[in-house]
Amino acid sequence: MIRFLIPFVAVVLFLLEPVFALFSPITFGDQTVFLVPRFVILYLIFISIYYNRGRAILYGLFFGLLYDVFYIDIIGLYSFLYPLVCFVAGYAVKFIHQHLSVTTILSVLLVGLMEILLYYFFFFINLTSIPFTDFLSNRLLPTIIANLLFLIMLGWAFKYLINARVLQRADDIS
């Protein structure tokens, strides 16, 4: 049961992302703020940290490809970045304390890093022309804050779910 729950949650998060994207952009006075939901990759980072790095990279490749084909139409962008982020997360976990608050901050920072990489890519192919300072204030910071809120609300649930799977797997082996 839990075995299938892990990919199922990823699929649900993937489908929820565009629904939350409908609320963006939000206008505060004279400033327009973009909130980018990054639920899938946050979840995959958690899988990478608490469960299995290889599995996370595989999921990252799959969902990255879906993302590319369905939304971006540039195949190879997210299907490269998602596994990369999972790989880095799985690598970094050896050097950090695996407390929930630490992993939350790490995940959000990685998402911020991914945003910056994406910004440079889209800037490079002329899809966007906004200067970096505008990107920082209108996109990156709001996105990081919104995703941090999301993780604070649901991070413990992810951890609980993944731990349940890890325990179940240990039972299966023994």
Binding site: L15, S24, I75
Partner: protein
């Protein structure tokens, strides 16, 4: 750093080359989806439309509550405009019948304004909002074609940029694509002024109407509608309102800032407009460097006579 063996390194390099090739391949051809792409798009689209339904329902409830709170104010304002509206209605009716009669007189049946509306629901919006794009639940199976105009009840929002059998993608007007132009006109009191909607101003969040003849006068507050002369869109779809008029970058033509009339942040139900008169899609379609006008005359000789 993790230890790399030479085998892993080769794999990584091959992967990188494959990746760059894939990216450049998909960047080059962005108007047609290949078969595997179409299958993925349709499957994800189906799942997405199932999720979108309850989500739309919930947002509708919030909107209803919001409009309920402002009912009193709105009612007051609407009552004031009601009398005005009755007069306007009568005027529109006379103009309509007059237009019809005149049209019969000159034997001109089809007009640039005519279009067949096709109602669609937004099932997703590109979550990383780098490229302003929405995905609709209607595709080629329902008669959607590339480059059709997409609008809400308030005004034009974009055009179809990619279709699969059951979904279609809309590129919104707020686009950085330099090839994305909409032939538009300013509805003046006496004379229509033509221009092109080209790009947008990031800071002001307003569209730019460029290439207006500098001898013509455009005033703040005038309405911008699509002109139908681009060959694809129907005529007369409202785009927005002029907020400022300046000169162009080179000082040769005028440029106007246009505040779009449609609300781009919460798109749910849209109308796809297929214009009735024959459309010439030029370099937007597959007809780059092809003599389109002669071909059209040959293939649709009847319509040519009507004009």
């Amino acid at each position: 750093m993790p230890h790399f063996t030479s085998k892993k390194l080769i794999l990584l390099l091959v992967g990188m080359i494959f990746l760059v090739a894939l990216i450049s391949f998909s960047l080059r051809d962005r108007q047609n989806a290949t078969l595997p792409e179409q299958i993925i798009k349709d499957t994800v689209g189906l799942a997405q439309s199932i999720v979108a339904k309850p989500a739309n329902y919930i947002t509708n409830i919030f909107n209803d509550i919001n409009s309920l709170l402002t009912t009193y104010e709105e009612n007051k304002r609407l009552k004031m405009r009601l009398e005005e509206f009755a007069v306007l209605q009568a005027e529109v009716n006379t103009l309509k019948s007059e237009n019809k009669n005149l049209r019969e007189l000159v034997d001109k049946e089809t007009s640039l304004q005519d279009f067949n509306p096709l109602y669609a629901t937004v099932i997703a919006r590109n979550p990383d909002q780098w490229e302003e794009k929405i995905i609709l639940n209607k595709g080629t199976a329902h008669g959607v074609e590339l480059n059709m105009a997409v609008m809400t009840s308030k005004g034009l929002i974009g055009k179809i940029s990619l279709v699969t059998p059951f979904t279609s993608e809309v590129e919104l007007l707020f686009s950085n694509n330099p090839n994305y132009r909409v032939s538009a006109m300013v509805q003046g009191k006496n004379k229509d002024v033509f221009g092109l909607i080209e790009g947008y101003d990031v800071e002001r969040n307003e569209l730019l109407l460029k290439r207006i003849d500098s001898s013509l006068d455009v005033k703040v507050g005038e309405k911008i509608v699509s002109s139908g002369l681009g060959g694809i869109f129907p005529k007369g779809i409202l785009i927005g309102e002029v907020t400022e008029v300046t000169t162009d970058d080179f000082g040769l033509t005028k440029m106007a800032y246009v505040k779009p009339s449609a609300d781009f942040s919460m798109l749910q139900d849209v109308i796809i407009a297929k214009r009735s008169i024959v459309s010439i899609d030029g370099s937007d379609g597959e007809g780059t460097n092809v003599d389109l006008t002669n071909e059209v005359e040959e293939s649709t000789a009847d319509e040519g006579e009507e004009k």
